[in-house]
Symmetry: C2
Subunit: 137 residues, 2 copies
DNA sequence: GAATTATAATTGACTACTCAAGCATTAGTC
DNA sequence: GACTAATGCTTGAGTAGTCAATTATAATTC
């Protein structure tokens, strides 16, 4: 049993724990973890707008996954579809004002639970993990 | 944006990458990541046997998830069901000889891909990640 | 500039789970 | 030792995705 193997198995369990912990808080805002990740990416994009494929790449799901996650978000107007005048194939996704508000509120809850879930490591150790995870990505 | 939040989001992407990387190799042996985790736990258990609930806890899925994953594994005889004479409610799961063989073969592939996926960090850094992940679990 | 190839997005069919309800069986209580 | 509560497991219904095929548009090549 190598350490690399051990790490992958351990990290799988850790990831499940972290995700469940955060999801509990996000559900109070009516959004899922995946929806939060989508809004998080849109929030950082210029004009709060991205192509569906870029979104897919950034959160590591398929294009069809993006279509399926966005459908209900459009219905409740968290995001809106926009055409790209230069290329009729692409449909741009934009975070609405309402979406921006919900995201900002949800982010507070996310950060609180994140801090609490990570409270067993020091600030320095957290920096180290961030750095090393970045190298692996 | 706190580092704790950043870490959780980053780790989610990392986990997806690691899991997909390993799954590609495991599929050559005809097993999924979850099936591998189950066999891995059984392999380490006394007499290669565990209760379904213990299995569920150890790999962080629900009891019903365990039932659903094990069904096809029983059909192809990777594991077998055993009654517990002391308590008729529990049904024990045991790794068969065939299961043991498949696991051992699959483990080699798992370790190779794990090493390769983790090759961007040093042995010391890997130890550090293992230690810190352990603290968070 | 017509024909071929590539890209963006969606859809139908499937998979791998979860959750809530149910059925046995065992444990705890009086 | 009968009654209630708790535990172990399974099942039906639902959810969040994947993959392969399809449609529409754009880019490339000849």
């Amino acid at each position: 049993m190598t350490n690399a193997t051990d790490f992958i198995l351990l990290n799988t369990l850790l990831n499940t724990k972290l995700q469940k912990g955060v999801e509990g808080q996000l559900s109070l805002h009516g959004i899922s973890f995946t929806e939060f990740m989508i809004m998080h990416q849109l929030m950082q994009a210029p004009n709060h707008t991205l192509r569906r494929i870029e979104l897919a790449d950034q959160i590591s799901i398929t294009a069809s996954g993006v279509t399926r996650v966005l459908a209900p978000m459009e219905k409740i107007k968290l995001v809106e579809k926009q055409a790209n005048p230069r290329d009729a194939r692409v449909s741009l996704v934009k975070l609405t004002e309402a979406g921006e508000r919900i995201y900002t509120e949800a982010l507070v809850s996310f950060e609180h639970s994140a801090e609490s879930l990570m409270s067993n490591v020091s600030a320095g150790q957290l920096d180290e993990m961030l750095k090393l995870s970045g190298k692996l990505l």
